[in-house]
């Protein structure tokens, strides 16, 4: 399969990290285990391991982002890499310089890794096809396609809270159509063995034939949440009111916003997640976001460990053992 050969080398190890789709359970588990070994690093007084010492990581963001870029930056720095942040507004590439020009200019500066966010689906694949061999590309979100590190940090958070995946019901609520996070989550969760992944949304926010991704489709929030172990709310962009996707944020909150009373039908120990940033009073009530079921802030801190793991593995397969030795903790399998 073409996808395998682009992301993985001949030994099945990560060369780029572009999409969850096409990656096997073993590899995803290896990333989660490696991330587990890095959690200790972030708690130390000296929060650094020398795995990427002397390497240069470029955060290449063609679309604004604070949280994702910051956690990638911290992850790279904790691996001792030099980090360059480039925020390139879409207008710059429109005016003459193509994406490839930008890329080749940066390659001339001998960078080792590109962390890429771009508004077009397929941008990370495109860049991965055109970089020099030996340069790794990490997808930090491409259009509506995938946001694989976000999905893995969600999986990591779920594994820590629930101890595994094999018995879970996970409900993803909200704008599936425009969400790269949802696509990656669906692939990650089904690959890791979650027996029932549900999507809950009005028809306007569901892509065509979404059930072919292996999910159960619900339009009613209560039905979608019944018996759920994990509820993930997705961010709703304000511009969805303009494209005739929804009548109003008010009605969305009434029908799909997470409130305590909805969660009553979920499992008593159900956790609530959100990729952030939250629109309080739209995707969920503040009482839910700040309540006992919420693991939203843990997601953010896990983001650093998971991104460290992805970067380390993409830069070389031997790093994991080194990492665990340096840190002195052992990856715990849940």
């Amino acid at each position: 399969m073409a996808r395998r050969s682009l992301q993985l080398d001949e030994h099945g190890r990560l060369r780029h990290f572009l999409a969850i789709e096409g990656l096997g359970r073993e590899l995803l588990t290896e990333i989660l285990d490696t991330a587990e070994s890095f959690v200790g690093v972030t708690a130390q007084a000296v929060k650094k391991v020398p795995l990427l010492r002397g390497k240069t990581v470029v955060n290449l963001f063609f679309e604004a982002s604070t949280r994702t870029r910051t956690t990638f930056e911290l992850a790279a720095k904790r691996l001792s890499a030099d980090v360059l942040n480039l925020n390139i507004p879409a207008s710059a590439t429109v005016k003459g310089e193509t994406l490839l020009d930008t890329l080749h200019n940066l390659e001339a500066m001998h960078c080792d890794m590109f962390v890429v966010r771009h508004a077009d689906s397929g941008a990370a694949h495109f860049i991965a096809r055109h970089v020099r061999s030996g340069t790794s590309v990490i997808n930090a979100g491409d259009g509506r396609h995938e946001h694989p590190t976000q999905a893995l940090l969600d999986a990591f958070t779920i594994r820590r809270a629930k101890g595994g995946f094999g018995h879970l019901v996970v409900a993803i609520v909200g704008d599936i159509l425009h969400s790269r996070v949802a696509r990656s989550q669906i692939h990650a969760l089904t690959t890791l063995g979650v027996p029932e992944v549900r999507v809950v949304a009005p028809r306007t926010l569901l892509p065509a034939e979404v059930e072919r991704l292996g999910v159960h489709v619900h339009h009613d929030l209560r039905e979608g949440l019944r018996g759920a172990d994990v509820v993930i709310a997705l961010r709703l962009q304000h511009e969805r009111m303009q494209g005739a996707f929804l009548p109003s944020e008010h009605e969305y909150f009434q029908l799909y916003g997470l409130r305590e009373e909805h969660l009553a039908v979920a499992k008593p120990d159900c956790i609530v997640m959100h990729p952030g940033p939250i629109n309080r009073g739209v995707e969920m009530a503040s009482s839910v976001a700040d309540g006992p079921r919420s693991v939203i802030l843990q997601q953010v801190s896990h983001g650093i460990a998971v991104r460290m793991a992805v970067m380390a593995l993409a830069m070389g397969a031997t790093h994991r053992r080194e990492a665990t030795r340096e840190v002195g903790t052992k990856g715990e399998r849940a």
């Binding site: 193509t98 771009h118 077009d120 689906s121 694949h125 696509r183 065509a208 034939e209 072919r212």
Partner: protein
């Protein structure tokens, strides 16, 4: 030059002809079939045993890029590529810069094509001024300048009222209206069929209804106005059924399909393969089968290449940002022969969709285009049906090198193309002596 093509299997659906016959050409026209005309002494004889001789192909959709986009191709480069594909008549639409909304631009294109000398070029003039979708073009003048019809290329019309008036005005001048049926609002910013592949890849989708809604509107207005209309290229099975029904009801409607829609589906997008970024989008397997069915039953009277050459950079971007379109003139015949090989349709039916079918749609059948009947122009495609070749983009003669058929092994190689009896393409491996 007097030419005898000896021993070829002559396939000419315009005369219901399929059999080994000698073909006599003189003074740029077909002189006779079977028996030589009195006193015929050929200057040259082409021994064509084992090869197929058919009328020069007529391709309904070829973008020549000139004037306006010479960095993608020129009239000379693209008509030469077409001749290499066995094509002797190309039809082109009005989306040039300047737009073909005045006789001057139509004349310019035809004049340059004449000087290049590889192909006849039929021009479909603009339906609205500047293709703006609002103001009618001067169709009387365009018709006088020889335009075979009017259309708005792939640009939308402002509303159904403009379409109605444009149809009525075109009907006044006896012009066929060529429509690329796509509702611009339903299409929105889509770049791939709205289905499982677009969902998986996160590509903005173009729903089936973008095509069927536009076909329904066009058919209703054809009924209302009585204009002769041509719809295409169609990409959905449902649209084919709608056109079939309309034709059954007696509406003056024709339709075409591209060769790539007969072979490829959304699955071929694979991992963001920009060579499969085409308009209308590649759809489902069910659609592809429906298109093949429509081709066999005759609802789709022509197969076109929808040739759109691009410079290399046009496809060097993330999928949604790439330019749609592929280079198709050099694979058109072989892709149809592959359908014959797959027993989708007979050779004579395949040839019909490439010759007399499109010639009739363009209103050129009367002048003998798409036919080898005596007196018709000696536009001829001679090909070796047994030869196989592998598509290599770098070997294409078109300036555009983007083809999703890269690496496909296809049947059929063009040995000789004649335009009015003059060789415009010759394969030196098969015919070493230049004619």
């Amino acid at each position: 030059m007097r030419l005898l093509i000896r021993g070829a299997r002559v396939v000419d659906p315009s005369q219901d002809l399929d059999g080994v016959q000698d073909l006599y050409l003189a003074e740029g026209r077909v002189a006779a079939l079977g028996q030589p005309p009195e006193g015929f002494v050929p200057d040259r004889v082409v021994e064509a045993r084992g090869w197929v001789a058919c009328p020069g192909l007529v391709d309904l959709r070829v973008h020549l890029r000139e004037p306006g986009q010479e960095h993608k191709g020129t009239i000379a480069s693209e008509t030469r590529a077409a001749a290499a594909g066995g094509i002797t008549t190309v039809c082109t639409f009005a989306d040039y810069d300047p737009v073909v909304d005045t006789p001057a631009v139509a004349d310019l294109i035809r004049h340059r094509a004449d000087s290049a000398g590889y192909c006849r070029v039929a021009v479909v003039g603009a339906l609205t001024q500047g293709l703006d979708g609002e103001r009618l073009s001067e169709m009387g003048a365009l018709r006088a300048a020889g335009c075979v019809g009017v259309g708005n290329a792939r640009r939308p019309l402002a509303n159904a009222l403009v379409l109605r008036r444009a149809m009525e005005y075109a009907a006044t001048h006896g012009l066929t209206v060529f429509l690329c049926p796509e509702d611009p609002h339903l299409r929105n910013r889509g770049c791939a069929h709205e289905g499982q592949v677009a969902t998986r890849l996160g590509l903005p989708g173009i729903p089936e209804a973008a095509e069927t809604a536009a076909v329904a509107q066009a058919l209703a207005l054809v009924q209302q106005t009585g204009v002769r209309a041509h719809l295409g290229p169609l990409s959905t099975a449902r649209a084919v059924r709608m056109v079939a029904r309309a034709r059954y009801d007696g509406l003056p409607v024709t339709a075409d399909v591209t060769a790539h829609h007969l072979h490829l589906t959304e699955m071929d997008l694979g991992e963001f393969d920009a060579r499969c970024h085409v308009e209308p989008p590649l759809r489902t397997e069910r659609d592809r089968d429906g298109l093949r069915y429509g081709l066999v039953e005759g609802t789709l009277g022509a197969v076109s290449s929808d040739h759109q050459p691009h410079e290399p950079d046009a496809k060097l971007a993330p999928f949604p940002a790439t330019a749609p379109g592929l280079s198709g003139v050099e694979t058109l015949l072989s892709l149809m022969l592959r359908l014959v090989e797959e027993e989708v349709l007979a050779l004579s039916e395949a040839v019909a969709r490439l010759t007399c079918g499109p010639a009739e749609i363009l209103g050129l059948a009367g002048s003998g285009i798409g036919s080898l009947r005596p007196g018709a122009p000696a536009d001829l495609c001679l090909f070796d049906p047994a030869a196989r070749w592998t598509v290599r983009p770098e070997a294409l003669r078109s300036r555009g090198r983007h083809t999703p058929f890269d690496g496909w092994e296809l049947p059929g190689r063009v040995v000789l193309t004649l335009l009015a009896g003059r060789p415009v393409h010759q394969d030196p491996r098969a015919l070493p002596e230049p004619l």
